[in-house]
Symmetry: C2
Subunit: 133 residues, 2 copies
Amino acid sequence: MPNDTCHCILLRKASRKVSSYYDEALAPLGVNIGQFSLLRNINRLAPISLTDLAVQVELDRSTVGRNAKVLERMGLVAIGHGEDQREAMLTVAPKGAAILKQGAPLWDSVQDDIEARLGAEKTRQLQELLAAL
Amino acid sequence: MPNDTCHCILLRKASRKVSSYYDEALAPLGVNIGQFSLLRNINRLAPISLTDLAVQVELDRSTVGRNAKVLERMGLVAIGHGEDQREAMLTVAPKGAAILKQGAPLWDSVQDDIEARLGAEKTRQLQELLAAL
DNA sequence: GCATGGAGCGGGTATATACCCGCGGTTCGA
DNA sequence: TCGAACCGCGGGTATATACCCGCTCCATGC
């Protein structure tokens, strides 16, 4: 039964499990790791259009649009218009900036935990392998 | 910006990308890697209840239930009842067995491609790391 | 000036995934 | 034997994710 060794299934399992680590750490802020990461990217690139952001985070544009809308409902992100009337320009709202600030140490702690558990060498291997896939 | 090094985001990206490799290979059969893998597990463990299958594949029971229902609609899986009237017992239908047979070489080819690209040593590392997370 | 093509988005649809709740069937103790 | 605890599921809800379609707006060629 080669099913236990399917690279895809193992990746998905690991992805779910690791996501839950970050999600738990960020739970007090009411955001999950996907939302927090998207918020960070918007902050880093703001003002940015949905399409450009989708390219940056390597997700489908419609996915980014829906996720951004959730952040907007939460009051963390503002969705305005660029010169081009078609463009939805994203910026971080004050409330979002607060979340970024409060979330940073929480994120750090999970990241550090994982690296401590793996050790420096394996952490490097992991990053390298994930990039190589 | 430590965002590019977030283990979680990198894992999710890798997971999406690698899933798409398998999905493309299996597309001619009309199933994706999640469905194919679930079908394999049902075949290996049949007859098995939803709850037990969920434990095996490390997914939420309701998720397995919904996914199984899709396979049932496709005619690949039969959902019957065990002695305990509450139990939904899963077995592979003939059509599902055919998919398993046809899919095996397609799955092998993606799996081999990935291992060839990484090399034996890194493939081992990958499996080890994913298990360690 | 206007038609045509292309770009940006929203929404529809489908699966993936999780959590929680309620219904109904089982079992076991009193 | 009969109610209470317990177990298995389905369904509701929410996000994550992708693909496709249609609408609107822009830019360019004529």
